[in-house]
């Protein structure tokens, strides 16, 4: 029963989000809208953590299984990757490096470089 109930919460959020994106003809991804809606339901206390856990925990625990098939889709784009490898390599190094430097720098500026507690 608790599995059924927590599944129903998740699927209801997803269904409402899908309906809203169709209705508003929005390009905003429905699963992300559903995630934000569920977060708001949790923060306002309408949905309780323990009501969600039975289904949410296994879903989260095995989440990588659900995107491995999509990741394997990379085999269809090997030509494109070979053609643009220099761009991809540049992005691969510069994007995370600049973000780490920026965030690390901002927090170190406000909080100091050492541990504060």
């Amino acid at each position: 029963m608790k599995y059924l109930f927590s599944s129903a919460i998740i699927l209801a959020c997803l269904a409402v989000a899908k309906y809203l994106s169709l209705l508003l003809n929005s390009s905003f991804p429905a699963p992300l809208l559903a995630m934000v809606m569920l977060l708001l339901l949790l923060l306002t206390g309408v949905v309780k953590e323990h009501q969600l856990k039975p289904t949410a925990s296994p879903l989260l625990n095995y989440m990588p299984l659900f995107f491995i098939p999509a990741g394997v889709g990379i085999v269809e784009h090997l030509g494109l990757i070979g053609q643009h490898w220099s761009l991809l390599l540049t992005v691969f190094i510069i994007v995370p490096l600049s973000s780490v430097l920026l965030i690390g720098g901002v927090i170190a500026y406000f909080k100091g470089r050492e541990n504060d507690d």
Binding site: L32, I74, V100
Partner: protein, 236 residues
């Protein structure tokens, strides 16, 4: 080829991933944890199987649909860790939210600029716009932007591995020892793989990384679909 290759989809994915995860759980060092990441290897091994056996991707995707279908409910379930992390960090929330947002915006802007200088096709720049976030969110956001989700996912996974290997080296070069700075930077830029690696090295920084990862999932979901069209408009 007419043989039905259903066995190469769901059974192989599940067995391979669980086996790789057991091996990954045995690692105790941050760098080896990142290098032995089960998602990264599962994708590489299955992709190598398809390429060497000269099998097309479409039937594989068709047979593994049951797994792909569960991705959407799993993304909705991400609200739970998001909520749990929010409750933990109320005290530092503002600084973390600001630095996470900066990281997410930075990743999209820098990637778009690089794509602009390389005169990359639109499909490619859309695939590189959402790299500062956990893989499932990347897939969805990239798809919405008209990019190639699998390429974005591969980039995100490799960036995570890179962060797991070099993260600590960069912080020691910069002389940053603050757990919050390290954690939020790695969690935002290098999401799950970087975070897992950081947790094994330094629990406190790892906790901040988990918060930042959850938060950047939310922020990316909101910011990137709005920011990317604006950037494309400005750069063309």
């Amino acid at each position: 080829m007419t043989t039905n290759l259903w066995w190469l989809s769901v059974p192989v994915i599940i067995c391979l991933f669980l086996l790789l995860r057991v091996l990954n759980n045995k690692t105790t060092h941050g760098v080896s944890k990142a290098l032995s990441n089960p998602v990264c290897w599962a994708i590489l091994i299955i992709a190598a199987l398809l390429v060497t056996l000269d099998l097309p991707y479409a039937p594989f995707a068709e047979h593994s649909k049951i797994l792909s279908w569960l991705l959407e409910p799993a993304i909705v379930a991400l609200a739970l860790p998001l909520y749990q992390q929010f409750v933990h960090v109320r005290r530092n929330l503002l600084l973390i939210v600001i630095s996470c947002s900066l990281g997410v915006i930075n990743a999209t802007v820098v990637a778009s600029l690089i794509c602009y200088f390389f005169a990359a096709p639109a499909e490619l720049s859309a695939s590189l716009a959402s790299l500062s976030v956990t893989t499932p969110i990347t897939l969805i956001v990239t798809d919405a932007l008209g990019g190639i989700p699998s390429l974005a996912a591969a980039m995100v996974i490799f960036i995570g591995v890179l962060g797991g290997i070099f993260g600590n080296l960069i912080f020691s070069l910069l002389n940053i020892r603050n757990a919050q700075a390290k954690g939020v930077a790695i969690g935002t830029a290098c999401h799950a793989i970087g975070t897992a690696s950081l947790i094994t090295e330094e629990a406190k920084a790892g906790a901040f990384a988990s918060v930042a990862m959850a938060l950047s999932a939310l922020l990316s979901a909101i910011i990137v679909p709005l920011l990317y069209p604006v950037l494309q408009h400005a750069l063309v």
